[in-house]
């Protein structure tokens, strides 16, 4: 315990490793900056929200998306690392899906961005495969007693995107307006999309 606990802070060690690798000619800080801004600005849950909103407003797209997620998502321009094979799981009146990665924190980056802290937290990784109803309740989602729960442990390279149920009271809304309602948490299955 002591040796690792007494190491310099992670901020200092990151700075040190960056300096060493720059000296070795292996890393270009400008490339690092581009990676960071890409995931801070461009690749995030808004991508997934656009996919969901399109599926809610275009029945043929919804069918293609559920049959084979990866090409349907690529139609909207999304794909890349951690999204080689995306499977879409549809929430229904009877079934609730929730996604986890117990072995690391695998997550569909092209549609949701980088995983949030609760997804990477040991409590979620350890417990949602053992007592999902209890865990979802702790996270603020109280599922009806009769709802069937399906938990998906992404233990290989398949990545899962949850298609939430469209909330009532949104008849006539267009895809852009609907996308504004869709949350990251609903697309992993730990929340539902609230009615406006």
């Amino acid at each position: 315990m002591s040796a690792a606990a007494e190491r310099p802070s992670p901020a200092l060690r990151t700075e040190a490793m960056e300096a060493l690798l720059v000296e070795r000619g292996l890393v270009d800080p400008a490339v690092m900056d581009r990676f960071i801004t890409t995931y801070e600005r461009d690749v995030g849950p808004l991508n997934g929200a656009k996919v969901v909103a399109r599926a809610w407003t275009d029945p043929e797209y919804r069918e293609r998306l559920l049959a084979d997620g990866t090409p349907a998502i690529a139609e909207l321009g999304f794909g890349g690392p951690q999204g080689e094979h995306i499977v879409v799981l549809e929430q229904t009146d009877d079934v609730h899906h929730v996604v986890v990665c117990t072995l690391c924190s695998c997550y569909p980056w092209p549609v949701l961005g980088l995983p949030p802290s609760w997804y990477k937290d040991p409590a979620y990784r350890a417990r949602v495969v053992r007592e999902p109803r209890t865990v979802l309740y702790e996270m603020g989602l109280d599922l009806p007693a009769g709802k069937r729960i399906e938990v998906w442990d992404s233990s290989a390279e398949v990545r899962y995107l949850v298609l939430p149920q469209r909330p009532a009271g949104t008849d006539g809304w267009d895809a852009d307006a609907l996308a504004g309602l869709v949350t990251r948490d609903a697309m992993v299955g730990v929340a539902t999309v609230a009615a406006p």
Binding site: T14, E15, M17, P116, V129, R148, A156, E157
Partner: protein, 226 residues
């Protein structure tokens, strides 16, 4: 013993976090630097061998895995890959960090790199597999009793459990050999569904657990003696 990273079902972690809808991708600037540095390290050192990176995470001691969160874990795994391949000397990162903090410490010299001999046959982790899949949707299977010393993607809580094939997925590189640079050996992956009672006993909450498992982790139920 299974690595700490194999967390499914393990006790003692407390309540789940309540999601913060406005959480930023990186809580502090160093987390973004660690993220980018790790991706570049993977590209430059291991030819984008993602399985080798995950195996580095699994080899971390518990403090290195947990103490500084997700991007601290990434940083430590990247450092392990860099010292494994002698791009950096052991202790080099700490020595430089202490110097940055104003301490007078000697830094080890750069070693002679010994990177793994590795050339992927294609991009990413999916590959064509010759021949048909061994299992079909609906097939009854039992998971193998695997307890390897090296890498494996069979979660401990799914060892020796009866399940049913939910879906047949594309061929994947086999992490068991790929993570240690011993070949891609692609296999079909299957999503396998398990009733919660098969995993956690008769008092379990009712639900179905699906996991993505490699063909060599599965035995047809008809051939399993259990």
């Amino acid at each position: 013993m299974d690595p700490l990273a194999d967390m499914g079902g393990s006790p003692g972690w407390g309540p789940a976090k309540v999601p913060d809808p406005d959480e930023a991708p990186f809580a502090e600037p160093w987390e973004g630097r660690s993220f980018a540095l790790t991706l570049l390290t993977m590209n430059r050192v291991s030819g984008r061998n993602l399985d080798a990176f995950r195996y580095a995470l699994e080899r971390l001691d518990p403090v290195s895995y947990l103490a500084d969160g997700y991007y601290g874990r990434w940083l430590n795994a990247a450092e392990l890959m860099l010292t494994d391949s002698a791009v950096l000397a052991p202790g080099a990162v700490d020595a430089r960090a202490r110097r940055l903090a104003g301490e007078e410490v000697e830094e080890p010299a750069f070693p002679e790199p010994a990177r793994p001999d590795y050339a992927p046959t294609g991009p990413g982790s999916l590959r064509e597999v010759e021949g048909p899949p061994a299992f079909a949707v609906g097939g009854a299977v039992v998971t193998a009793d695997l307890r390897p010393r090296g890498p494996s993607k069979l979660p401990g809580y799914l060892r020796r459990r009866r399940g049913t094939i939910t879906a047949v997925r594309p061929g994947h590189l086999l992490p068991d050999t790929h993570a240690v640079f011993e070949g891609e050996n692609p296999q079909y992956v299957y999503t396998v569904g398990f009733p919660s009672t098969e995993l956690w006993g008769p008092d379990a909450e009712p639900f179905t657990l699906h996991a993505d498992l490699f063909e060599s982790y599965l035995i047809p139920e008809s051939e399993a003696d259990r």
